[in-house]
Amino acid sequence: MGSFLNALPGAIGQGLIWGIMAVGVYITFRVLDFADLTVDGTLATGGAVLVVTMYAGVNVYLALLIAFLAGCVTGLVTGLLHTRFGIPPILAGILTQLALYSVNLRILGKSNQPLSVYKYHLIASMTSIGKAIAVVAVIAACLIGVLYWFFGTELGASIRATGCNMSMAKANGINTNRTKIMALVLSNGIVALAGGLLTQYQGFADINMGRGAIVIGLAAVIIGEVIFGKIFRNFALRLVSVVIGGILYYIVMQFVISLGLNTDDLKLLTAAIVALFLGIPYIRGRWAETHVKTKGAAGHA
């Protein structure tokens, strides 16, 4: 238990960063209703771009901005594959993700590059965890504020309408191809930003750092919804619940590790948890179907 408590701040820091990533996933998965697998590649792109720009002497804030923009480009590619080539969402994301593996290697030069806090000015490093948590929390709060404002604008409302009802969107003059691309660009930008923060936090960028990111993002989204879904109705609060979902996810993971689970098995556990929660509404529906009360109050014919 002691080791768990010691590891708690680390889990919170990491969870916050993955929570920001999950906010990006929320935009595609929940708002746009588009399961975007690009993010596995995009997270590493964000990390890789941050490392090489900082190697080149770029200031950390500007480096994060460039990482964000690089993520926007990966989202744009998936968006174009889907809207211009008519490739289904999941496949479009997989294609970009695969291509990004090569691109990320090119950017990074090799599969792993260190980013030492002793050599570079970093704003979120696990070597000073309190500061890192504070900084990332502020970034998350600002991000949620901006997104809350954006999705209340005409453009943001068009994106929401596209995700909710494409027929309605088109009938009301919304260019749904454009709104889809905008959402993908924004989402992947946020994921790459999280990749840049994660790289600083762990002190290196790795070609595999994004593997399974989409599933962790979904886990955060679902945990947030399960716990706060009934009380958080407002859009900003929903995004807050996603970030908290990310933190809770890492706390739970840290807890099972402290119970002695082999870290190699974590991804299996994550996948199982996400599959379970995604499946619950469906299973519940099936159960209700097969357990209809045929006896008793027969009001309807």
Binding site: L155, A161, N165, A171, N172
Partner: protein
């Protein structure tokens, strides 16, 4: 206001499922015309509306709305000219968005979207008033999600959305068919009021022959992708349902096979 010239559409061409949905349709509507469309199952009524709205491209022919050739314009671009209400109440509204947000999107139909607020306070006041006129108790539920409304309420909201920014053309695709008789009557009455008030050029598909006769100044009967009867003015007013069935038999050479139509 609307000119359709030689429009044809075949689905699944050159396959075993080939279906000629529209065959050389020619139709001209004058400004302020209110046309009702009736016809058997698969006569091409909905396809005609979808062609006008640009849901899918025509095989040949041209469609001109208010002097502008829209044949090659995509659906969302044509939306600038067209207000639509669909048969399924779920189609015309975004269920997860609030009533005021739905209305605000409709109010911006055909305008470019910017980073201005999606709904302004002044708009909310206006929407409250317009919803009050519907007399469905929606004026106090401006921030309710549309998904919580009944089918009739959703259809009324969709009708309001379709006409909020005055369209050149209002397309109604059996918009009361999914509602219970009482609600259907109310939505139909609302339709008539709005169309008359704004003098909208309207095309309404209906399966109710009495409505088709009672409403509007012109009636079109379709069968197998063709317009087989087109009547307006006093001649239309004098029509009886029996006349329509008789007309169908003579012009189409068979009995009318629209089950819902015959049952209503």
């Amino acid at each position: 206001m609307l000119e359709i010239r030689g429009v044809s559409k075949t689905f699944n061409a050159k396959t075993i499922n080939e279906k000629k949905a529209l065959e050389n349709i020619n139709l001209t509507l004058n400004e302020g015309d209110f046309v009702t469309v009736i016809g058997g199952n698969g006569a091409g009524k909905s396809t005609l509306l979808n062609m006008i709205a640009g849901v899918y491209p025509v095989d040949c022919g041209s469609i001109v709305i208010d002097g502008k050739d829209v044949t090659r314009l995509s659906e969302h671009r044509r939306a600038k000219f067209i207000g639509r209400v669909f048969q399924d109440p779920r189609t015309g509204t975004a269920a997860d968005m609030q009533i005021d947000e739905n209305l605000a999107i409709a109010a911006r139909r055909g305008l470019s979207k910017s980073l201005r607020p999606g709904v302004t306070r002044a708009e909310r006041e206006r929407y409250k008033e317009l919803l009050g006129q519907l007399d469905l108790g929606l004026e106090t539920r401006l921030t309710s999600k549309v998904g919580l409304l009944s089918g009739g309420q959703r259809q009324a909201v969709t009708l309001l959305m379709a006409t909020l920014k005055k369209p050149k053309l209002l397309l109604l695709d059996e918009h009361t068919a999914a509602l219970d008789p009482k609600t259907a009557k109310k939505v139909l009455e609302l339709t008539r009021q709005i169309v008359e008030r704004d003098g909208l050029t309207t095309v309404m598909i209906t399966h109710n022959m009495k409505d088709a006769i009672a409403i509007g100044n012109r009636l079109i009967m379709m069968n197998e992708g063709k317009i087989i009867y087109d009547v307006s003015g006093d001649e239309k007013k004098a029509l009886k349902t029996a006349d329509l069935l008789e007309k169908f038999k003579t012009n189409a050479g068979e009995e009318l096979d629209n089950d819902r139509m015959l049952l209503s």
